[in-house]
């Protein structure tokens, strides 16, 4: 009954694409994204990841493994500090997969999960860099000037991209059983 799932290939391609798009968007719109003292970054990677977990259906993708791979590339290419994103991302995937069985995947609940996931990701990233002294921003400044604007920007992205990505996943995941309406 299962058709071949194109999602198996589309998911990782989209994952890496969103990683590079993040870097590109941050560069092109850097004038407005990094207007002092606020700084926000686009996190399409996390958006793709969270929606992937909720909409994979019965394809059962190895999302945590892909997350580790994307995290490794992120560390390698953007920061040069290995073992940060490479571990935060898979841990986040495991937590989301663990909690997603407790509620119905509606627009609002996924939005809330995305909000919490992004907060978790940014905070964990910040805490590790604070520990190795690669950042000296105080935690209150981090929440006010970095985390809050980043959340605002990415929730906008979420609202805009929710339906297109959802329909992309639904049409490519290949299962005959479409549970999410």
């Amino acid at each position: 009954m299962l058709q071949s799932a194109k999602l198996k290939y589309i998911f990782p391609i989209g994952f890496f694409l969103s990683l590079f798009l993040d870097g590109s968007i941050n560069l092109i719109f850097s004038g407005s994204l990094f207007a002092y003292p606020y700084s926000m970054v686009s996190n399409l990677t996390i958006l793709w990841l969270v929606l992937g977990i909720f909409f994979e259906g019965e394809t059962s993708l190895p999302i945590a493994t892909w997350a580790a791979a994307v995290g490794l590339v992120f560390d390698w290419y953007y920061t040069g500090v290995f073992g940060v994103n490479m571990f935060i991302l898979p841990v986040m995937v495991l937590i989301i997969q663990w909690v997603k069985v407790f509620f119905k995947p509606t627009f609002l609940s996924i939005l809330l999960t995305f909000f919490l996931a992004l907060t978790f990701y940014e905070s964990a990233f910040y805490i590790i860099f604070e520990m190795i002294h690669y950042t000296s921003i105080s935690s209150s400044a981090f929440v006010a000037y970095n985390l809050a604007p980043t959340l605002a920007l990415n929730l906008c992205f979420f609202v805009i991209l929710y339906l297109p990505i959802k329909s992309l996943f639904r049409h490519t995941r290949g299962a005959n059983f479409r549970s999410i309406e």
């Binding site: 590079f20 798009l21 941050n26 290419y77 953007y78 920061t79 073992g83 190795i132 921003i137 970095n146």
Partner: protein
């Protein structure tokens, strides 16, 4: 809950944490070395290749919109720039004469290399790290073009940061505005009213006002607002005479013993597209 933390998973989790801590420690120690490991270089270049392909359409769109925008301002800008060109020619010819003289004088005192002998390598910014408190950009030139770790980078008019990782055809540049402890340590100097210079280092970057802070200045010299700030070449890593910015304010620090000099950077740190890396000869 019990199932989630079974014995086996706990062991795996602990191992993962140990590996993560090990990798982070390793990366921190490699960054302190003077060269980047080959594996990291190759990886950087390979990823950059994919990144360039992905970023190409995005850049095309942004370039088009930028050129459309600039068409509107072209006339006014042209008028304004015409005036400046004449001045610039005069400065340039004088500059050339002085350089010639400087060269001859250096020869006479048999001084071979000084901290003002540097050449600039121009590079384009490919990408910007997607983390909000870090300011790292990736540029499209590397060790093949002679770029080395720790070289200073300027954009437009002024200093913006230094190379923290040099691969074969790409490099990572950490901007002065980065919040890392070591990102902004540059030896700089300010000319005071009497013509002598006040030396110091950049001690922090004020993110609220977008200003460079030169702290712990104990000299009693009066520093005027609007004085030019350049790199001093002390320390032997940064060339002498790279333009940093202009003094906007001086304050006593909290203990009242030293002066803090606030400097408006000449380069716009938030939007950078083309940079030049200063290579000491």
């Amino acid at each position: 809950m019990q199932k989630f933390f079974s014995n086996r998973k706990l062991v795996i989790a602990v191992i993962c944490v140990i590996i993560a801590v090990g990798l982070v420690t390793l990366s921190v120690t490699t960054r302190k070395k003077s060269t980047t490991p080959i594996v990291q270089k190759v990886g950087n270049d390979a990823v950059a290749l994919v990144d360039r392909v992905v970023a190409y359409p995005m850049n095309a769109i942004s370039n088009t919109s930028r050129s459309l925008n600039s068409i509107i301002n072209t006339y006014q800008e042209n008028e304004r720039l015409k005036g400046k060109v004449d001045q610039l020619e005069a400065v340039r010819s004088r500059d050339q004469a002085l350089e010639q003289e400087n060269k001859q004088l250096k020869q006479q005192v048999s001084l071979k290399k000084t901290m003002t002998d540097y050449k600039l390598v121009t590079a384009t910014v490919i990408s910007r790290a997607p983390s909000s408190w870090q300011n790292i950009v990736v540029i499209n030139k590397g060790t093949l073009s002679g770029i080395k770790k720790n070289q200073s980078v300027i954009a437009g008019e002024g200093l913006i940061g230094r190379v923290i990782e040099a691969s074969y055809s790409t490099s990572k540049v950490e901007l002065i505005s980065d919040s890392s402890d070591s990102a902004n340590r540059f030896a700089i100097q300010v000319q005071d009213e009497t013509g002598s210079s006040v030396n110091g280092i950049v001690t922090s970057f004020d993110r609220g006002t977008n200003e460079i802070v030169m702290g712990q200045v104990t000299s009693k010299a009066k520093i005027k607002r609007g004085s030019l700030v350049t790199t001093s070449g002390l320390g032997g890593v940064t060339p002498k005479g790279l333009y940093v910015g202009k003094v906007v304010d001086t304050k006593k620090n909290s203990s009242g013993l030293a002066t803090e000099v606030y400097i408006k950077p000449a380069a716009d740190m938030s939007s950078i597209n083309v940079v030049s890396v200063a290579e000491l000869n």
